[in-house]
């Protein structure tokens, strides 16, 4: 085998290792950043939605839920390529159900679904945190 071949093998190996390290670094940063962005964009709307429900204003609640759904749709493809599809579909399901309940004027159930959405998002963030409780 020529000396040049060894150099090429070494270069390919080094390149592969570097590429793997970069992909892993991205994979460590991206999911959490994605979820934080989603939380930031939906948090204000969901809090305002709760206030609207408590103020007996289901029409405004439905409008805010529609905004939350828009935001979710904006993130959808990125979320699906990063997280388990079932977990993401659960978020959509909670918002869709809350929207239907807002239209129907069922305050109690609407608050339950809205809380479920917020909790699920928080749980996704929690499970992606590299804390000891998730590592062990």
């Amino acid at each position: 085998m020529k000396n040049g071949s060894f150099k090429r093998i070494k270069a390919v190996s080094a390149l592969g290792t570097a590429l793997a390290a970069i992909i892993i670094a991205f994979a460590c940063i991206c999911p959490t950043a994605l979820l934080r962005g989603l939380k930031r964009e939906t948090e204000r709307d969901s809090e305002e939605c709760i206030r609207a429900v408590l103020a007996d204003d289901p029409a405004r609640a439905a409008m805010l839920l529609s905004d939350i759904r828009e935001t979710l749709l904006k993130y959808r493809s990125r979320l699906l390529t990063t997280f388990d599809h079932d977990e993401i579909e659960e978020l959509f399901y909670a918002v869709d159900t809350a929207y239907e309940l807002a239209l129907a004027g069922d305050k109690a159930q609407l608050l339950t679904e809205l809380t479920a959405f917020r909790t699920k998002l928080e749980f996704l963030l929690y499970t992606n945190r590299a804390g000891l409780e998730n590592l062990l």
């Binding site: 390919v12 190996s13 592969g16 290792t17 793997a20 390290a21 992909i23 892993i24 994979a27 699906l80 390529t81 990063t82 997280f83 388990d84 599809h85 079932d86």
Partner: protein, 236 residues
């Protein structure tokens, strides 16, 4: 279905590229860390292939992480002798100068049958034919044959182990046409011991009894070769 197909191709290409970069060691003699990576990659790759709800990154990221771990282990074992010992272990001499080392076998969790099997794979059909036998870190053995050992093309009919670790194998004893009484008498007359004291007794192809006693603290284990004409002459 097209999704499954494309995902399978993608995972296959990733695993192939990773194994290709790891080198040929993956395909033949594996060190422990090679084996770990190979087993884990197979398991990790299967989930995103079979379940479309699982993103490909759930398979790709662990595979790349394993690849990096493997690279780190290979680099450490290359750079430091101590780390190489930790990662790969050390070769172990299990037969030294024709003596089967009982302690070394126990340390390697090797039974006499395992050793016999491995020796047979190297065309060595009796302990007496091996001068040295080294258990390598990848689980294979290397054998230095003794001077009088027959070559492959010559007569090398297998020896029969009739006593292993102090226990008599009656079926094996019957297969060589010997009685327990005859063996007892041969051992007491020529090796000054009983069956329970023997690490092994092998019946060689020429009728010789190859006896090795169990190890005693601090001393080399005693070995005896009792020729067939000796114990036959005494009408044992």
């Amino acid at each position: 279905m097209p999704t499954l197909f494309i995902r399978t191709i993608f995972i296959y290409l990733t695993v192939f590229a990773v194994i290709r970069i790891m080198g040929k060691r993956q395909l033949s003699d594996m060190q422990p860390f090679d084996l770990v990576v190979t087993i884990l990659i197979a398991d990790v790759a299967s989930e995103p292939i079979s379940d479309p709800a699982v993103p490909l990154s759930y398979g790709v990221i662990p595979i790349l992480a394993l690849f990096l771990m493997h690279k780190a282990a290979a680099l450490l074992s290359l750079r430091s002798e101590r780390m190489r010992r930790v990662i790969c272990g050390e070769p172990l001499i299990v037969i030294s100068n024709g003596v089967v080392l009982e302690g070394a076998l126990r340390a390697a969790d090797f039974t006499l049958d395992d050793l016999t099997e491995q020796l047979r794979a190297k065309d060595v059909f009796s302990f007496s034919q091996a001068k040295y036998c080294i258990l390598e870190t990848n689980g294979a053995i290397s054998v230095v044959r003794s001077g009088n050992a027959p070559r492959k093309e010559e007569d090398s009919s297998p020896a029969v182990t009739v006593v292993s670790d102090g226990k008599l194998r009656e079926k094996a004893l019957r297969s060589v046409g010997m009685s327990r009484e005859k063996l007892d008498l041969a051992l007491s007359a020529f090796a000054f011991c009983g069956i329970g004291d023997c690490f092994f007794v092998c019946f060689e192809s020429d009728g010789t009894l190859h006896v090795q006693l169990k190890e005693r603290r601090g001393g080399q284990p005693e070995r005896y070769f009792i020729k067939a004409d000796l114990y036959e002459e005494r009408k044992l």
